[in-house]
Amino acid sequence: MTKEEVEDGRDDMLIDGCEAEVPIQRLPPGFNANYLRVYYGKLFPYADIFKWMSYGNDGKHPACDKSYFGRREFSFTLDNDIYLRFQSFNNASELENAIREKCPFKIDIGPVYSVDPAKRHAYAQSGDNVFTPVERELVFDIDITDYDDVRYCCSGADVCLECWPLMTVAIKVIDSALRDDFGFNHILWAYSGRRGVHCWVCDRKARRLTNEQRGAIADYFRVYKGNENSHKKVSLTTVLHPFLVRSYTEVLRDFFETKLLSSQKIFSTEEKYEKILQLIPDESVTSDLRRKWQESKRSSSSKDDINVIRWEQLKQVLQSGRQKSQGLRRCVEEIVFSFTYPRLDMEVSKHMNHLLKAPFCVHPKTGHVCVPIDPNHCDEFDPTSVPTLSQLLEELNKGDMRDDADNELAETSLGKSIRFFRSSFLQPLLRSCKEELENSYNLKMQHSKNSMSW
């Protein structure tokens, strides 16, 4: 039924199925179901996704868990918002066939369950909770719309090169904590296709965290207090935890002072600087600054950036020896944190069975592919130049390489992303998986030997 609905009313179109040629030279930008069909037919990296989600269990090693991939939940959002949950596949070709056939606008990845999620009802009969998530990557979802109170260039789902660096900062802060503090190694960052980034932590240990442990990590990252409706309020202790110190000195302060101040012009108007003064809990300080800034508006002759000048003034007042209160000194950091510290969607990270969009999906509104982001070079990532569906199809059309699929892919602008995915993420991950399989197997053999001799 769903398939028909997808295809319904489109037989008049030029493109019919995946194998069709795409005869148009200049494709209109954006997204449409038929382009998507071609994308799924020629470009989507099924084998890589399958390799990744198998975590080494697709090999020949006796310690492999053959049922592993088949217990993973995928969910598809089809055209018309038809939502298919609890899809599961036993191998790469089943996955590929289903995606090609259903042509989902969005593919989400859920947890690995105790039993095949497609057959969960059969197990439900036998009672006592056999259907339960057992593994899931630790995931993070950061969305630029959560920063609307600190960016003045765009709002809502829009992003531009002025506000995107907020995401870059989030990647840097979270990525380094995940590696240095929590000791994780296999981390994939991906563009969400429109307005944010996703992070997948794939170490074995991460996949097996309980909800409570996930919540603990999410809370470790939390600096905002108060409820969601009120404006975000950062509240810091007088002495900062080493993680916050490092985030501040290595990322946030520099970004705030050299980029954000002038790119978002956060001191440039009364309305804007009032928002900052609100964060200072001392009347005399704020009225002092306010007076100074109202005057300087009249005599703004300096060629220096007014935002930088005002920030320096504010710092001077707050950090001068006159301010005995530690709390007021903390204020400078609090302001920087308020404007720059990552804002995570906590719920996504806290629960094993939250779904998250698969990398390499195409965003149905923008046509952007959800490509991986290299955290070591995240400054260079430009969301506006991410390959789009129509661009990729055009590249396919132009090139006359009909030889083999992998080659076709490599020649498009998606090729670079796939190469990065493989070399920086997938291969190291699979190497670790193989070692872990070996180790657990040897351990088991050791045990059984011991118990026999005993």
Binding site: Q213, A216, V239, P242, H351
Partner: protein, 450 residues
């Protein structure tokens, strides 16, 4: 169960704590009366804790509460018996609470809170002895490693308002995932997957350990209870049953908070303030003029709990049932049952309304309408029911999300919040609490001045 460990012997000269770890069942002769009495005393403690937690008491307040509860309920005239009472009561309640996931969860969380607070009261020597007893595989951080991270450890200590660690301070290096609460509060220094836990934070480690051992033990007990321990079962089953029936959940047998409801507003009140489980029974009763036993119990006790008087209850049930079976048959066959609920017949036990845990653990069969809709309804039916309660589709999705996670009470809480446009911080633990909280919200809406 495993064979007794050495700690059941009389205390030797070494430091021994009074806090048992309940690793093996006691090999003690226990009189059956003691068996039940001890269990009930411990249950008072656990219920007190549950109540404290649901009121959002702070750690210091909890510490005091637990201490008081323990002192009042767990005394024994013979001081030598105190520890036996502690152990026996714990193991009896394991039997009572091992039988469903919800019960296990409750018991686990109350016992863990109890343990945590008792542990904190121990001397530091006794604490170290307990740690040794748990065989925690953690090593103290070596001097050279300590030197290399001393600054960071000091920073963390000061960030949580504690004094700098002294030179001889002991830190344990522990995989971070074993101390989630310390991680969540940024109360430890974390590096490369390891948390550096100070001696005074060790409680967190021990509690995690305690919790995971008890959690495993409960599942094991359940398995054994349902399979092997036959003779035990014949002897103990009746006692366990009674404990289950009358002592699960907080005590809602005496409604005090609100004026009793009368028959004439009952339809109105059912719509505005009944939780879904009761609303569903109520509507089914109005529709079919009949409910099977499970439904009569669940709804009947609930109505009693929210203040429907016996006479009104009889009139209410008669009005419905007589349409189906005739007034005469009602008086003969069903009225007894209702008076029974009110303690006016039979053993004259005043039955307590079912808690959520009880309702959720029920197993309704064909033609039954009792149980918790969040647990027992199909997704489709549940969606429809929520829609009927007026939930927006966004709210329905949130609720369904909780249901998928098997957080039925959280789902119920979200429903409450959506229906009332007010938050319910304690969460829903009891259908009567749902009702009371709902009435509170509605009253404050009617006269906002109050």
């Amino acid at each position: 169960m495993e064979i007794v460990g050495s700690r059941w012997k009389a205390p030797s000269n070494d430091v021994v704590s009074n806090l048992p770890l309940y690793r093996s069942a006691p090999l003690l002769e226990v009189r059956l009366e003691d068996f039940e009495l001890f269990a009930m005393d411990r249950l008072r403690v656990l219920r007190g804790i549950s109540d404290g937690l649901s009121r959002g008491k702070k750690p210091e307040e909890m510490q005091k509460l637990v201490n008081d509860l323990w002192k009042t309920n767990m005394r024994h005239t013979l001081s030598s018996e105190v520890i036996n009472k502690d152990i026996i009561s714990h193991f009896v309640l394991r039997l009572v609470y091992c039988r469903t996931e919800e019960l296990r969860k409750w018991f686990l969380s109350m016992e863990t809170t109890l343990f945590r607070n008792r542990f904190k009261l121990e001397s530091s020597d006794a604490q170290r002895a307990l740690m040794a007893e748990f065989d925690l595989p953690y090593k103290a951080v070596s001097t050279s490693e300590y030197e290399s991270i001393k600054d960071k450890l000091g920073q963390v200590a000061r960030s949580i308002g504690q004094s700098l660690p002294t030179a001889d301070a002991i830190f344990y290096k522990v995989p971070f995932e074993e101390v989630p609460e310390l991680v969540a509060g940024r109360r430890v220094f974390i590096c490369k997957g390891y948390a550096y836990v100070a001696m005074n934070q060790v409680v967190s480690l021990v509690v995690t350990q305690f919790r995971s051992l008890l959690s495993k033990a409960l599942i094991l007990t359940n398995r054994k209870w349902t399979s092997t321990i036959r003779e035990e079962k014949d002897r103990l089953a009746p006692i366990v049953e009674t404990l289950c029936m009358s002592y699960l959940g907080p005590d809602y047998s005496q409604p005090k908070e609100f004026a009793e409801i009368s028959i004439k507003d009952i339809d109105h009140v059912a719509k505005s303030s009944f939780p879904l489980c009761m609303r569903n029974l109520f509507e089914k009763l109005r529709e079919d003029h009949h409910l099977k036993h499970g439904g009569r119990m669940q709804l009947g006790l609930f109505l009693k709990g929210v203040g429907l008087k016996l006479d009104d209850a009889l009139a209410f049930w008669r009005a419905e049932f007589s349409q189906k079976v005739g007034a005469e048959r009602f008086d003969k066959e069903y009225a007894y049952n209702i008076r029974h609920n009110y303690g006016k017949e039979g053993k004259r036990i005043d039955y307590t309304p079912y808690s959520c845990q009880k309702v959720i653990s029920l197993t309704p069969g064909v033609g039954d309408h009792h149980g918790c809709p969040y647990r027992h309804f199909s997704e489709e039916n549940l969606r429809a029911a929520l829609g009927k309660m007026g939930l927006a589709s966004r709210a329905v999705e949130d609720v369904m999300d909780k249901v998928r996670n098997r957080h039925y009470q959280l789902a119920c809480t979200l429903t409450f919040e959506a229906v009332h446009g007010a938050s319910c911080d304690t969460g829903i633990n009891h259908p009567i609490q749902y009702f009371n909280d709902s009435q509170k919200v509605l009253q404050s809406k009617n006269n906002p001045s109050k």
